[in-house]
Amino acid sequence: MKSLQESKNELADTTKQLEILSSGPFADGDLPTFAKKLEMSKQFPLKPKAVEIFQVNMGYMCNQTCAHCHVDAGPDRKEIMSKETMELCLSVLQKSSAHTLDLTGGAPEMNPNFRWFVEEAVKLGVNDIIVRSNLTIILANKKYHDLPEFFAKNRLHVVSSLPYYKKDKTDKQRGEGVFDKSICALQMLNEQGYGKTVSLKLDLVYNPAGAFLPGDQFGLEQNFKKALKQDFGIDFNNLFTITNMPISRFLEYLLRTNNYEDYMYTLVEAYNPAAVKNVMCTNTLSVGWDGFLYDCDFNQMLNLKVAGKTKHISEYDEKLLNEREIILSQHCYGCTAGAGSSCQGAVV
């Protein structure tokens, strides 16, 4: 499977995606825009709190091409963060209020300077360093086989996607053979002590394999724990449920299967004003592979840079950034549906 960009799909153009997100029921007035909905619950404009999580996208290159990927990542994507930009990130981390560094991609491990960056961040004494690992990268090439040891040595917090505890649904979403490799990688992480203690945290991410919202996080976590332990002897700490955002490849899927409008209605109906105050854009700053700043990873993929004067890591000014308004579009309904959704799972 090729990325939208490589296959020259019109949705590779983010303006086209934004156009779709603002037309149809939102243009007809059948559904309120996200900004309007915030106004109705007296939560507009949406402003950030202090930066707690610095989420760095290390590049869009990935060994997998998942059907729902909001990054449109894949082996054919060549965008990758340079060492110079990483150095800028490290200098910002030194003076920022952020206590967590969240490394994402693509597959962040495929960046040739990934290990260097991690070791430098460890030296800085960053409290919590998260690596969002797709698991299969560990088995993709001999040079990655020692990643579990590297993660453990640096006390990284591993967060990994596993859409289901059974093969069929996982492979449908993430590609043929992904489930078996993911299980093997999880067992390798368990051997290092991951998921068995609180000091080596292994969290899993569940996102629905289709046009529906995730169910109760705790209930799903129980099912995952029971099935993975029983079938494969696997332990993990927490399960995060994440709602699929109607952007990029998942938007393409929704449109292709004629599910788009129903999905948007579902998101709007599930709007939960209590989730708004904890949405991740209020405490996270997303840094693109090229150093540009975004309110979240989803805005990054829609090329919606932060409002205000400091738009790049090279001109980082936390005080100014804390005063900005968060850029909104209708995809934001994905983070406020039901129990809410963030890179740390449900927020309510």
């Binding site: 289901y164 059974k166 649904k169 569940y206 629905p208 289709g210 529906f212 919202l213 995730p214 169910g215 109760d216 209930g219 799903l220 099912n223 209605y265 109906e269």
Partner: protein, 111 residues
């Protein structure tokens, strides 16, 4: 007039039932929520029962609703189909067990 009796978008309007009789409508939805809450049976088990019943009573709205609910809860397609067969078996059995009545009547009337 609608060209079909069932419109999938009507499911979203179910809540409007209260507009014509607020008291009874609200009582129904309150009862409905209580029925599906966690209890001696889990909400997951109740969802599967609802899915099976939805097929037995052939309610297209309920089938849509509880297929979606099952997916949200991580219920697998095998579990859904097994629940459905329980409903189908009971429905089929209910037809077939009346055969005893037929046999009784036949025997009574026959020499």
């Amino acid at each position: 007039m609608e060209k079909t009796y069932y419109d999938p978008s009507d499911l979203k309007k179910f809540g409007k039932i209260v507009e014509w009789d607020e008291e009874l409508g609200n009582k129904f939805f309150e009862y409905y929520s209580a029925v599906f809450a966690e209890g001696a049976l889990s909400a997951r088990e109740k969802s599967l029962i609802a899915l099976a019943v939805a097929h037995v009573i052939q309610c297209p709205y309920c089938i849509d609703a509880y297929t979606g609910d099952g997916l949200k809860r991580g219920i697998s397609q095998e579990e859904m189909m097994e629940a459905l067969h329980v409903g189908a078996a009971i429905r089929g059995g209910a037809s077939l067990v009346h055969g005893v009545q037929m046999m009784n009547k036949y025997n009574k009337l026959s020499m």
